[in-house]
Symmetry: C2
Subunit: 337 residues, 2 copies
């Protein structure tokens, strides 16, 4: 399969490493030979219709800061040109998230679809801003559209609901969908430390960002719950439909009291017909949502199976490449590969 990578940050690099590491496995187990014919970043592009040398590309990008420095690479804003002109089967949009405009991913995805290319993205922005539009456009263009990595990182939340729980009506989705806040709440619970202290330490460790607003105010979780509601419950929801409370007002005292009662406090996103919300909730110890550290977890409430939960790492380039690769294999299978 001929692949275009748009975005060559941590995820683009992580996926490229997975392509190198797993070439034999993919060919042997799935009959799949991924050939990256172009890679684009904000500074330029590298194109080779015979397939880029990924090890060389990674080395160049790491040393020189852009794929444009790869032999024959070009500088400039080339994403749209590459998406439209380079012959390829699948376009990965792995650009950074902008939850207000969805750009640049939104335009990348639309242009790729209109050019008849299948699309895989990890980017929440376009999905939060224009889910229905993209979903319809994919159908109209007759292409496959996958976005497993946009929610839950390595955790195949959307696939679980759509493929494996297909006999059930999904009544409610509840999710611990933000690793940073889960890490903060876990440390507050195990150490009794106050929010400000664990936040500062998490920032020093690189687990929380310098400006942690999107995480600790619950906005990142709200984006993910919006995507889950749209893709699994079939509603037409926007970010503004989610009632959001963050974790900045969760006190160590509340966490201690919860703990004494066999409960933990987690930042939980909830989606069901007519309700979308994010806020701190009490979860009993031993419940699948009561996961520690940076783990993510999602629980589906179902008419037959009652409750099914899935847990794993919600971030990290290597972990997320599990979903990005899974989407590619799924498209390959769907097309009869």
């Amino acid at each position: 399969m001929r692949i275009v990578l748009v975005g060559f940050g941590n995820l683009g690099k992580g996926l490229s490493r997975a392509f190198i590491q797993k070439a034999g496995f993919l060919r042997k187990t799935h009959g799949l030979i991924p050939r990256v014919v172009a890679a684009v970043d904000e500074f330029g592009a590298a194109v080779d219709e015979k397939g880029l040398n990924l090890a060389g590309l990674l080395k160049t990008a790491e040393k020189r800061g852009t794929v444009a420095a790869y032999k024959g690479g070009k500088r400039g804003k080339l994403a749209l040109k590459v998406i439209e002109d380079v012959e390829a089967d699948v376009v990965y949009d792995l650009t950074p998230t902008n939850i207000k405009t969805g750009e640049p991913g939104l335009t990348h995805i639309k242009r790729a679809m209109l050019a008849g290319k299948h699309v895989i993205t990890s980017n929440k922005g376009p999905l939060v801003v224009a889910f229905k539009e993209l979903d319809s456009l994919a159908r109209r263009c007759g292409i496959e559209f996958r976005y497993s990595a946009s929610v839950g990182g390595a955790v195949p939340v959307i696939g679980l609901a759509r493929k494996l729980l297909a006999g059930n009506e999904i009544r409610e989705i509840r999710g611990v969908l933000n690793g940073t806040t889960n890490y903060l709440l876990t440390r507050m619970s195990t150490e009794g430390a106050p929010f400000e202290i664990v936040l500062r330490e998490a920032q020093e460790l690189g687990i929380a960002e310098k400006d942690p607003t999107l995480d600790i105010e619950g906005i990142d979780t709200a984006c993910k719950i919006t995507i889950l509601a749209n893709s699994i419950l079939g509603v037409n929801a926007k970010l503004k439909d989610v009632k959001i409370t963050g974790i900045t007002r969760v006190r160590s005292e509340a966490i201690r009291l919860a703990r004494e009662a066999g409960q933990v406090i987690k930042l939980v996103g909830v989606a069901r017909q007519g309700l979308l919300e994010v806020g701190p909730k009490l979860i009993p110890v031993g419940h699948p949502l009561a996961v520690s550290g940076t783990l993510n977890a999602v629980t589906f409430e179902l008419d037959l199976a009652r409750e099914i939960s899935i847990t794993g790492f919600g971030a990290g380039p290597k972990e997320t490449s599990s979903s990005l690769l899974g989407d590619l294999i799924d498209i390959h299978r769907t097309l009869g590969g």
Copy 2:
């Protein structure tokens, strides 16, 4: 789809109720119209090529103890005759498990395959006794073979590994796969009560069987870990290859000490290349395997995603119908429906 149900105990009845309850959903969401053309139990069979009235069949079976009492039903050992002679697309084998011989399910499944019918089973027996044989026979006969309900009840363990984690190499599978023992260990942990007491109470509540050997000695878990190893890791394992320790020697004192160290004791089945074992293990509170009550949980150790866990109810006729129905939808999709 024309369906034959072989076995009309709790699971057969639960699946029939799901077919009734979800007829509209299955037609609308999946374009699937299940038509049960025959139902067989140990006393006889009911056949109607136009489709049995499931509500009537359930009422008859509950009142008179057998489907043979349904109008036009016949008495006798009719399973093989029905499997071979009644025109149908899919045969469900939902007969009781015999882990020594695999019968009667083993013969039912083979005959159905040889008759060109797709097969769905919940029965661990045939899979433990003859996994490779059945897997090859299914290929040779060109039919679809599914057994999601045989491990984890409602929890789609096998589908998760095969469909959604397809980009990963699976290094290890660890599972809490027996609801009865998990219930016993959970009560011992929360109440500090000794094994004998909680076992007796669980027997009174119907959670443990009168002869609880298969559960508490770890044999049921060993059967499930054998099936997972064969179907996911691609090994050729038999029950005798599993090193088994049950939970009868787990003392409240050990559970109390574990608890003080932030751990719980669970009966865990482990499968990786070259190792199959079942025994009590320490699991940290907050880990996805540290689930309470009758829940089941499975953790996959993976090269890319690191760890993915799934949790849900491992038994119950309604819960298990989620997997039985999921397999039918999956076959319907695979055949292009």
